[in-house]
Symmetry: C2
Subunit: 173 residues, 2 copies
Amino acid sequence: MAANSTVESIILGCLTTHPMSGYEIKQLISLSTSLFYNASYGSIYPILKKHEESGLVSVEELIENGRFKKIYHLTEKGYSAFLTWLEETPQPITMRNDMLVRLFFFNNLTREKQSDITRMYLDHLRDFRQRLENIAPAAAAYSDPYKEYTLRWGKDFYVFLIEWYEKLLSDLE
Amino acid sequence: MAANSTVESIILGCLTTHPMSGYEIKQLISLSTSLFYNASYGSIYPILKKHEESGLVSVEELIENGRFKKIYHLTEKGYSAFLTWLEETPQPITMRNDMLVRLFFFNNLTREKQSDITRMYLDHLRDFRQRLENIAPAAAAYSDPYKEYTLRWGKDFYVFLIEWYEKLLSDLE
DNA sequence: TTATTCATGTAATTTGTTACATGATTCT
DNA sequence: AGAATCATGTAACAAATTACATGAATAA
């Protein structure tokens, strides 16, 4: 009866802040947890349906500004399922880091290409970091220190990556 | 004709070091790239078949110590496909970081539970880091600086994580 | 008036893992 | 003798994305 996948729990977690629509959940995930856990509409809507069926959320249908909306509310059962999940042992970190895979095989390239490609990687990373910096103010409005912490983590992670590749580049030269 | 998924290219990349079996490819991936890109037999064997059909690898069948083996060799076509891939723009990093998801919703816990759970996270991270440290010597035998770099990355990443959560814990207390 | 955003949802496809099946060899 | 490792492979299943379909409101 408890939510058993992480996405299922994220959705419940979003609803702990306030009742919202599937669309709003997607937006919230996109500009907050997407860096370390993402979800698409194709996942969100079917899960909401499932949550409704198992009584973890309740649905309020309304028309706002002429737009049909379904606002999902967390039930008590849903909240306790969420709390149970929150204290469980976390899943190990998994990632797909394409740059590192390529670096693993760098010996197949000339020294010059190695440097060029590393510089390209750095450009990408700096670019991405900047984009993170730009969404920061919007997310800071939560006035929830833990949401700020996770946002900070994203920035710190990219600083770590940039410094790491800068070091690599200087080693190559 | 070129390999178009990352796993497809990793397999070609493994074969640039020397010809090997599907079993050996799986082992190599497990103790080298698995941290930032993993693959199971269920992916590897079908891809090898596909690579053979498209002429990127050739197969040598033999019996060694009474064991039937299929040794895969990279063809010239396969090597040039690999090199093309190697210079392409990398895919963005994606990850699943369950701890951060939970941290994002930490406001639903008492301060005491927050600290306890953070300590549990640190235990997990330190444990994992130690395991990385243990496989280091085996992988160092490659005498390929880039393979060592990626191994180092894994260790650096876990140092980053541990320091980050230590800082979090001291903030909580 | 046209593009974008808001809003919901499904079907097809992709991607990949897990579990199973098989069998020989080697280590304890 | 029995457990672990070597070795190949498939089928079932799971998870998730992409693309599509629909349509209203709003911003340019």
